[in-house]
């Protein structure tokens, strides 16, 4: 049986091992596509064998909360329930049960598992700026921009470093629009009620 291989990403044929040490592009023997392959030790590492829970043999042994027939090996760091080897999920040196893992993911308490975030500050800024192209809309969108900016104040923003400048700008621009509308209404009504 052959060892681990890396395939050409064009023709899918295995790339010969002498490619792995090259620091320049070389043609694939099968399709002639210019390739450079960087290989790392993980390629040669076998996939770890999955764990399975040990069955309880003696009465009185602590059992898994989810599998009463399996021996408990560790308590969950989140809820303290006893877990067998099957239910124990290790994440950043923490041992969690699947329920705590799911709850943590849903509530955003485990940033390592987050795969999506909304950028409410950008939405607020767009809500403040874009309707200026059709300015009468700002009567409705300016308060909405302020509400979105305030609502998102304590919400987690991007995982990447990001300042609050967009939220500040959204509030400032929307406040100016509302002030403009206020002045307009005051002007219109004061003229309307003048004798």
């Amino acid at each position: 049986m052959n060892g681990p291989t890396v395939s050409c990403t064009k023709c899918n044929s295995p790339v010969p091992p002498d490619f792995f040490q090259r620091t320049d592009l070389a043609p694939c023997p099968a399709c002639e596509a210019a390739l450079q392959v960087e290989v790392f030790p993980a390629l040669f590492k076998p996939i770890a064998v999955g764990k399975f829970g040990e069955t309880i043999l003696v009465d009185g042994e602590a059992s898994c909360f989810y599998h009463p027939q399996k021996r408990a090996t560790i308590p969950c760091a989140g809820c303290g329930r006893f877990l067998c080897a099957v239910c124990d999920v290790e994440l950043n040196n923490q041992h969690l049960c699947p329920a705590c893992l799911e709850t943590g993911r849903q509530k955003g308490k485990l940033p390592q598992l987050e795969n999506k975030r909304m950028l409410f500050d950008s939405a607020a800024l767009s809500l403040a700026l874009l309707p200026l192209l059709m300015w009468p809309l700002t009567l409705m969108t300016a308060p909405a921009a302020i509400i979105v900016a305030i609502y998102s104040w304590r919400k987690p923003s991007s995982i990447l470093p990001r300042t609050r400048i967009r939220a500040y700008l959204a509030i400032l621009i929307a406040a100016l629009q509302m002030a403009g509308w206020g002045l307009l209404f005051v002007g219109v009504f004061s003229n309307a009620f003048e004798p």
Binding site: G3, V6, C8, F20, A33, P46, L119
Partner: protein, 198 residues
């Protein structure tokens, strides 16, 4: 107030499409691919300990752009040649703009497609579209991968690729899980223990 240390550092290259743009970041123990629409971000993580290989394949789409820019430069230059005054200045300015584009385009170097391979996936990295940027990004993350996985010398690498040694890399089949809890425990054969008849 002390500034928080930067968790993510941006790697060279960028990928764009109609709906979103993609960036690649180097994290403490993983690569983070961020696809952003401007209002939401999608994250994909590639942990350094899991990366098996990164491939760069040169492509030829950059040549098409070079040809397109050259045709546009030539076209605007020649049409402007027949005109005088403001018309000529406008057309030659447009030709100059495309000249700047072609210079920038050639400066970025040849185009490529970059893939990252782990034990369970082969993912394209849309941000690494130029060979120069791809090599730069790989050189930036290499020390982190080496820290997470260790390093292989050229001899070790060749030795491990030998078909004769292949059996040591064969993936170990998971031991079947016992379905019945009433069945007596089965002692798994220990690979390290010498055989009884040895």
């Amino acid at each position: 107030m002390p500034r928080e240390p930067k968790l993510y550092r941006r790697l060279p290259g960028r990928g764009t499409s109609i709906a979103h743009y993609v960036r690649l970041y180097q994290g403490p123990d993983h690569l983070l691919q961020v696809s952003s629409t401007g209002y939401s971000e999608l994250y994909k993580r590639f942990y350094f300990r899991d990366i098996q290989a990164i491939t760069i394949r040169k492509t030829h789409w950059a040549n098409l752009w070079t040809i397109l820019f050259a045709v546009l430069i030539l076209g605007f230059f020649l049409v402007g040649f027949d005109l005088t005054g403001a018309g000529r200045i406008v057309l030659w300015s447009i030709a100059g703009f495309f000249l700047a584009c072609i210079v920038l385009h050639l400066g970025l170097g040849p185009a490529c497609v970059c893939h990252i391979r782990t034990a369970v996936q082969l993912e394209r990295l849309p941000t690494l579209r130029r060979v120069k940027a791809a090599r730069k990004a790989i050189n930036r993350i290499k020390p982190f991968i080496a820290e997470a996985q260790g390093q292989l010398s050229a001899e070790e690498l060749m030795q491990r690729m030998q078909p004769g040694r292949a059996s040591s890399f064969e993936r170990v089949a998971p031991t079947p899980v016992q379905e019945s809890t009433d069945a007596p425990p089965v002692i798994a054969p220990d690979a390290n223990r010498p055989a009884a008849n040895a």
